[in-house]
């Protein structure tokens, strides 16, 4: 049983969730409330991780985040250390990989808000950030929570993308899903079974909560 891997998975999922919530909330708002040219193209693009095999997403991220990639080079120039095979690297990869899981429920929640509430808030003098904070967020708490949980679970379950970007560095990038795979590879079935069993109730419980939050 690899406790470090389990702990690392939770840490990765938690950080990814926080980063994604902050990142996608304004994005979802723009997509729902603003008429932007090329909106459909943008949405299809950020939703690509839903449709592509994780290895394909991982491959492109590898190209971009590697030492020869645009982003990888920029990162190395700024921080002096490479991005691949580090915890930061897999956080970035998970964020990209989970964007659709954050965006879709958030969008749905924002779309459910009565547009007249927003008109009313505008007339009452609120600017866009205030409307977001005082009207949109409090009226879509369930959707936001569902979105956070889905991202958390999806990151907990990520395998291919993390393997391609992070490899399996113990304590850095060897998350539970990878540790389980390696345990099976080395015929340590007992260890794999225990770790799998540790993830199962977490995922089940959270899915139940999502169901509760989004029903009606």
């Amino acid at each position: 049983m690899d406790w470090t891997a389990l702990f690392l998975s939770l840490k990765l999922a938690l950080i990814t969730t926080v980063v994604l919530m902050i990142l996608t909330a304004p994005l979802a708002c723009l997509l729902v409330y603003c008429r932007l040219p090329g909106k459909a193209f943008f949405e299809a693009f950020v939703n690509l991780p839903l449709a592509l095999p994780p290895t394909v997403v991982g491959f492109y991220l590898l190209m971009v985040m590697g030492s020869d990639g645009v982003f990888g080079r920029l990162w190395e120039g700024l921080t002096g250390s490479p991005l691949l095979f580090t915890f930061t690297g897999i956080v970035i990869a998970s964020v990209v990989y989970s964007i659709p899981f954050a965006l879709q429920p958030m969008r749905a929640a924002f779309e459910k808000i009565d547009p007249r509430l927003i008109e009313s808030a505008r007339i009452l003098g609120l600017n866009a950030p205030a409307i977001f904070g005082r009207v949109i967020v409090p009226n879509s708490v369930n959707g936001l929570a569902a979105s956070a949980i889905l991202v958390f679970l999806h990151t907990l379950g990520a395998f291919g993308v993390i393997l391609m970007i992070g490899g399996s560095v113990p304590g850095q990038t060897r998350v539970a899903s990878i540790a389980i795979y390696e345990a099976v590879e080395t015929l340590q079935y007992g260890s794999a079974a225990l770790m799998s069993l540790a993830l199962l109730p977490v995922a089940y419980l959270f899915l139940l909560i999502v169901h509760r939050l989004t029903r009606k």
Binding site: E119, S120, R122, I123, L124
Partner: protein, 238 residues
Amino acid sequence: MDLDVCVRKRLPPFELQIDLPCPAEAMTVIIGPSGAGKTTLIRIIAGLEKADAGRIQYGQEVWLDTTQGICLPPQRRRLGYVFQDYTLFPHLTVEENVAFAAKDRKKVRYLIDIFGLSPLVARRPDAISGGERQRCAICQALAREPRVLLLDEPFSALDVFTRRDLRDKVRAVKDELSIPVVYVTHDVNEALFLADRLVPIVGGRLDKTWLQRSLARAGSPGEERSRSMREPRLSLAY
């Protein structure tokens, strides 16, 4: 200060073309059949909808001037708007709704008192009646100390008793305030009771003869009468 409105807008069935001075001392009531462009007009005044051409001026302040490309967003017009159906914030209590855009807490308490909402302050909008919700919406609009008050069929979804009660309240409020109030309705009875100035709009244009025509039509037997035409009789019966 007075509000001066002169706007045009192409709507699918007709062109809205209205010249409407709203003096500060008067309650201007816009009346007309459904689909006459009343709500569009009031939404243009609020800044929620764009006009094709026109000018809206409050005192010396220009809110809209299509020739100069000026169009103030609703936030900067500082007006009160009570919508046709309840648009209170569902996540806030009655008191929080009234205080939503208020500058002065004392004003909030005062409004809650005179509109009889005191026993309901801690309730959410879904736990109070339609009439109470609209009273709360009026308080919310007034708490902001608006420069212009717009009411778009605020009581049309309420029963006749509640409506009469609220109508009296609105009249009383107007007598205290010296701001332009624009009230939209399709109810002749309500219009005659409230109006200092009556503006009948039909097909997007001012139609001075509409009121006479519809009153005359109500008198003639056999013809189908609208609900608004029957109501004066109802109110006599009560």
